[in-house]
């Protein structure tokens, strides 16, 4: 199984081959999990959402037309589930305020450490669609085109969200960034 490319594993999984789908999950779960964790800042929520994303993908494999890669497709499912989850949480006003520092570690340089902490907090306070674009492009190294496929929007929208996200971050972090 490990030697097979994603599309062949998808074909096997479609026929009900659990091992093939497990291999797909093994390949992609780490990156998907990291992205969801960046968004939720909660290990348990991220774990639940990732399980839900992969189970949803398995149940709906027949609907996967393979116009994009499995990687993009599973990302898209996870991103949609996460954004819906965050919306629901916001509505219920029960969003847990887990300190950002709990999930990340800074370095020893005091000023840099402070900037990183503030940056973490500032990213956390970005509106969800902007934050998701930022996570995909900056942390996961996706191009605007790849991120647009995952988010189900145009490249122009991703470009605009990145610009707005940077403007918001710049405004919040101005004292730590220096003038020039």
């Amino acid at each position: 199984m490990e030697a097979l490319p994603d599309d062949q594993l998808v074909a096997h999984a479609r026929k009900g081959d659990v091992d093939a789908f497990t291999e797909l999950a093994r390949r992609h779960q780490k990156k998907v999990f990291q992205t969801v964790l960046w968004m939720t800042k909660n290990q348990q929520d991220a774990d639940d959402l990732c399980q839900e994303a992969f189970l949803h993908a398995y149940k709906h494999l027949k609907n996967f037309k393979q116009r994009s890669s499995f990687y993009t497709w599973i990302y898209r499912i996870a991103v949609n589930l996460t954004l819906n989850f965050l919306k629901r949480k916001m509505r219920e006003k029960k969003r847990s305020q887990i300190p950002v520092e709990d999930c990340f570690q800074g370095d020893n340089g005091t000023l840099r450490k402070e900037l990183r902490q503030k940056l973490n907090q500032a990213i956390d306070f970005l509106p969800d669609p902007y934050k998701m674009s930022f996570v995909l492009v900056v942390f996961q190294g996706m191009s605007h085109s790849q991120a647009s496929e995952v988010l189900g929007c145009s490249e122009n929208t991703v470009s605009w969200r990145m610009f707005k996200a940077r403007k918001m971050l710049q405004k919040k972090l101005l004292p730590y960034l220096g003038g020039t």
Partner: protein, 200 residues
């Protein structure tokens, strides 16, 4: 060129290559615009620091645990699928004998129907059908019987009007089949009887 457009292109340039034309415009602009130059330096610093942030850790043990739980759930889904009565139809080959049986059944029905052994009514599900209309036809031009039957129907409707609640009545009005049984003449007679009952 407005600074906002320049800033947008600067943001794009941090994420990937931009066109030569855009780059030339940016370079010319930031030569003279200190605000845009500062913006470029700041967003580059933000990007650099963001990339240096430690990614959330996912240990190999966590990954293994995740995959193992997922696998169990997938197996459970498979078992659930096979439990259902209809799961046999998921196998496409089931449709071959099923089709043969269906075709044979249709042929049998057709042959017996042609022979006259089967009556259409035997296949019909119970319904009011044309019962009321048929009664009217049987009554024919006998005015006494017509009047008696109309009285029965109108009495039944009046009783229903008294006892039924409005929700139920609304549902009955929506049910076109109830009224389709009556011919124009039948409905006319019914209307007359109802009017008489109301007046009395």
């Amino acid at each position: 060129m407005k600074c906002q457009q320049i800033e947008r292109w600067l943001s794009d340039s941090v994420d990937g290559p931009i066109s030569k034309k855009e780059k030339a415009i940016i370079d010319a602009h930031i030569e003279t615009c200190t605000a845009c130059r500062a913006f470029r330096n700041q967003i580059e610093k933000i990007n650099e620091e963001a990339k240096n942030l430690d990614a959330p850790e996912v240990s190999p043990a966590q990954s293994r645990d995740f995959v193992s739980r997922l696998r169990s759930a997938l197996i459970e889904i498979g078992e659930e699928k096979n439990k259902g009565v209809l799961h046999v139809f998921r196998n496409k080959w089931v449709f071959v004998p099923a089709s043969v049986i269906m075709i044979s059944l249709f042929i049998l029905i057709f042959v017996f129907y042609e022979k006259g052994d089967f009556q259409y009514e035997e296949f019909s599900v119970f319904s009011f059908g044309n019962a009321v209309e048929e009664i009217y036809q049987d009554i024919g031009s006998d005015l006494v019987l017509q009047k008696a039957f109309n009285s029965l129907v109108s009495a039944s409707i009046n009783e229903m009007l008294i006892t039924a609640d409005w929700d139920e009545m609304l549902n009955l009005e929506d049910d076109l089949l109830l009224w389709e049984e009556f011919s124009e003449e039948g409905l006319g007679n019914l209307e007359l009887e109802l009017k008489k009952d109301r007046n009395s």
